[in-house]
Point group: C2
C-alpha cells in the first residue's frame, strides 16, 4: 500500500533516506577517525538504533533513563545517559540498568551528583561501575561546568576518586552554534567549542588524571567537530531524519529529509490560506533554530522523492505553515496557488525531534510503499 491508505496526520519516515543518512554520518566518523555515538532522542526507535550500531556507531546517547531502558530491552549494550541523574528513584533505576548494560555512562556537572551516583552503586555492593562524562559548558550556557576551570579539575579529581565511577572524559552540547547565520560562522562556532573542550580535557590531564574522551554533540557541527584535533567522539541526533532547521544550516540537503508529517487540506477559508489537519500537536510550536527565521511552523516538503510524490506536495513545495494552533496548520498559499480540500501534503517540521515525540508510531515507507509501522517505543519515557 502507499501513504494514501494511511490516515492523517501521520508521521512517515523514508527508510531509504534514513539508511543513507545513517551511512553518511558513519562514513564521516570513520574517515575522520572519531567515534560516533548518535543521540537516540530524535528517533526513539530501537530499529533505528540498531541500524546506527550496524553502521559502526560505538553506542547510543539518550537523555532519559526510560529511553536507556527501552534500548537496553532491545539489546543495546553501550549507552550514555547524557543527563545529570538526581534523586533516589532515578539512582535505583540506574543501578538496575548498570547490572544489565555492559557499557553504561552518565553525564555529571557537579560533585554532589557524582557522589549520589557513586553512593547508589556502592550501596548495591555488586562491584558495579559506570563511566562518567563531565559536562562542560562550551558556550550554550544551559548546564555544565566552566571550561578549563578549577571547578572542572576538582570535579574530575572527585569523579576519579569516587568508587564505582570511571572518568571517561568530557562532553558538551554546543547548541549555541545553531545561532550562526552562515556556514563560516557555524564553522567558527564549532571550532571554538571544540577548542574549549580539548583544552578542558588537557586541563584535567595536566592534573594527572586520565581523560581519554572529548565528545561533541550536534548535527549541525558534526562535520566540523569530526576531525578537529583532539576531538574523539561526536553525538549527532537529528541527522538520522533531518528537518527544516538542518537544511537551513547546510547540514542536510533537501534530499536528506527522511521524515515528514503527512497532512490533509481540510479547509480553504480564503485564496491565501489552506488549513491542514496538522497543527502544533503534530508539528510542535518549535520555531526554526536559525536566527531571524520566519516565525512559522514548518513548510510543505521542498524535496525528497518520497515526499514530493505525496498528493499536491510537488505543486506546493516550500509553502510555509505560517500559523498553527493545536490541530490546525495554516499554509500560506501564494497568488495563483492551487490547493483543494482533500489534497494531501508532506510537511517538514522546523525541528523533528519534538515532533517525533508527539506520535505513538511512525509509518515506514520504502520506494514509495508503506512497509511497516513502528511504535515510537521510547516515546513518553519522561523520567
Amino acid at each position: 500500500m502507499t501513504l494514501d491508505a494511511v490516515d492523517t496526520p501521520a508521521l512517515a519516515i523514508d527508510l531509504g533516506v534514513v539508511r543513507a543518512n545513517v551511512a553518511a554520518m558513519a562514513a564521516l566518523a570513520r574517515e575522520r577517525g572519531v567515534a560516533l555515538r548518535p543521540h537516540a532522542k530524535t528517533h526513539k526507535l530501537p530499529q533505528v538504533a540498531r541500524m546506527q550500531l550496524d553502521a559502526g556507531a560505538v553506542g547510543l546517547t539518550v537523555a532519559k533513563l526510560g529511553e536507556a531502558e527501552v534500548l537496553a530491552d532491545a539489546g543495546v549494550d553501550d549507552l550514555l545517559i547524557a543527563y545529570p541523574l538526581v534523586g533516589e528513584l532515578k539512582l535505583a533505576r540506574l543501578v538496575a540498568l548498570a547490572r544489565r548494560v555492559p557499557r553504561l555512562a552518565v553525564a555529571v556537572d557537579a560533585v554532589a551528583v557524582a557522589e549520589g551516583i557513586s553512593g547508589a552503586l556502592a550501596a548495591a555492593a555488586d562491584g558495579l561501575e559506570v563511566g562518567v562524562r563531565i559536562e562542560v559548558d562550551s558556550g550554550m550556557h544551559r548546564l555544565g561546568v566552566a571550561p578549563s576551570s578549577d571547578e572542572l579539575v576538582e570535579l574530575a579529581r572527585a569523579v576519579d576518586a569516587l568508587p564505582g565511577l570511571r572518568l571517561e572524559g568530557v562532553m558538551t552540547h554546543e547548541g549555541h552554534a545553531y545561532q550562526s547565520d552562515s556556514e563560516q560562522e557555524l564553522a567558527r562556532a564549532a571550532a571554538a567549542a571544540c577548542d574549549v573542550m580539548v583544552a578542558s580535557a588537557e586541563a584535567i590531564r595536566a592534573a594527572g588524571i586520565d581523560c581519554p574522551v572529548v565528545s561533541m554533540g550536534s548535527t549541525a557541527t558534526a562535520r566540523f567537530a569530526a576531525g578537529h584535533p583532539g576531538v574523539t567522539e561526536i553525538r549527532p541526533g537529528t541527522y538520522v531524519f533531518n528537518d527544516r532547521s538542518q537544511v537551513a544550516h547546510g547540514s542536510a540537503a533537501e534530499g536528506d529529509l527522511a521524515a515528514a508529517v503527512i497532512a490533509t487540506v481540510v479547509s480553504r477559508p480564503s485564496a491565501e490560506v489552506a488549513c491542514v489537519d496538522a497543527g502544533a500537536k503534530a508539528l510542535t510550536s518549535d520555531r526554526m533554530i536559525v536566527r531571524d527565521a520566519a516565525a512559522d511552523h514548518g513548510t510543505v516538503a521542498p524535496g525528497g522523492a518520497a515526499w514530493t510524490a505525496v498528493g499536491a506536495t510537488a505543486r506546493a513545495a516550500g509553502w510555509p505553515v505560517a500559523r498553527a494552533s493545536e490541530e490546525h496548520g495554516l499554509i500560506a498559499v501564494p497568488a495563483g496557488g492551487e490547493l483543494a480540500v482533500g489534497e494531501r501534503l508532506a510537511l517538514v517540521p522546523n525541528h523533528i525531534c519534538p515532533a517525533v515525540n508527539l506520535f505513538d508510531a511512525v509509518t515506514v515507507i520504502e520506494r514509495g510503499r508503506v512497509i511497516d509501522r513502528w511504535p515510537v517505543a521510547a516515546r513518553g519515557r519522561m523520567t
Copy 2:
C-alpha cells in the same frame, strides 16, 4: 503517598481544584442559561469528561475522531467533533461512531465537506443522522465561513437539504480574543464575536432555515459569552486545569491552577540559573498567549495550595522558566534566590492543553496525597 514518591518530570492534577473548576463553569452556564459543552482536548481524560457531564454539561466537544472514539468507549453519548472531517478513512469511522453515539455532531465550513459526510451516511443506508454546526470565522481567521455572508446561507441551505445531516446551528472558536491586552479589550472582543455569531444565525433563520444553536468556544471569553443575548452554548476547554495564559487573561485565579509539571533541579550552573528536568518535551514550546508576553516557557507555580507545598515551590513562586531545550528548563533565579540541586518545583505551563498531550499519564492528587494515576486515554489519537 505524596508527590515526593513520584519521579520527575510528572504531570500532576489536583482533583479538588479540578472539581471546583468544573463546578464553577457549570454554575456559570446554568446561571446564565446557556448549554455547556466542554472541549475535551485539554484533558483527554474520560474521568474528567464524566465529572463535566455529572456537573451538568450537555455533552463534550473534541477535535479528533480518535478522541470521540475514546469518549464513546467511556459511555459519553453526546459528542461534537469540532473539526471538518475529510477523506474516506475518516468518514468510515464517523459512520461507525454515528451507529453507537446517540447524539453526534460535526463541524463543517464548506459544502463539499458536508456532501462527503452526507454521502457516507447515506451509503451506510441505516437512516443514520448527525448534527451539523456551521463553523463561522468570527475573527480568528483560521477556518470557517465569513459571518452573515451569502456563502454562509448557501452552506446552511445545502446542509438543510442533504440527507443524514441535521443543521443544529453555528459555532466558532474566538481564539483571536487571546490577543487582548486588558479585561476591557477581552470583553469587547468576546462581545463582538458573539454579535457576529448571533447575526450569522439570524441570517440563516431569515432564509427560513432552523438554526437553534449559537456556540462560542474559549475559556477566556466564556464569562462574557455566557449570557450574551442570542448565545446558546459555550465550549471552554482549558478552564478545567487552567494555565499561565488563563491567569494572565483573568479567566482564572492562581488558586484555580489545577495542573502542574513537577520537576527536579538537576544543575545550578550559575547563581542566576537553575536547570530543571522539564524542558520543551514536558512544557512545550508554546509561548504565553498574551500579546507582548515574555518569550519564556512557564513559571514556578505562583499559587495553589497543592503546588506551593511541592519542594521549594513556595520560595521560588513566579520565577520564570526563561529558556527551554528539549529536556532542560532554565529557571531565572533572582539575586539572592536559593534553589539547590535535588529540590523539586511545581511548574505552570503557558498552555496546558499541548502539555497534557505530552504525557502518557497524569498523577492525581487530592489534599496533597497521590490517590491515582490516570492514563491520558485520548492522547496520541492523532486522527
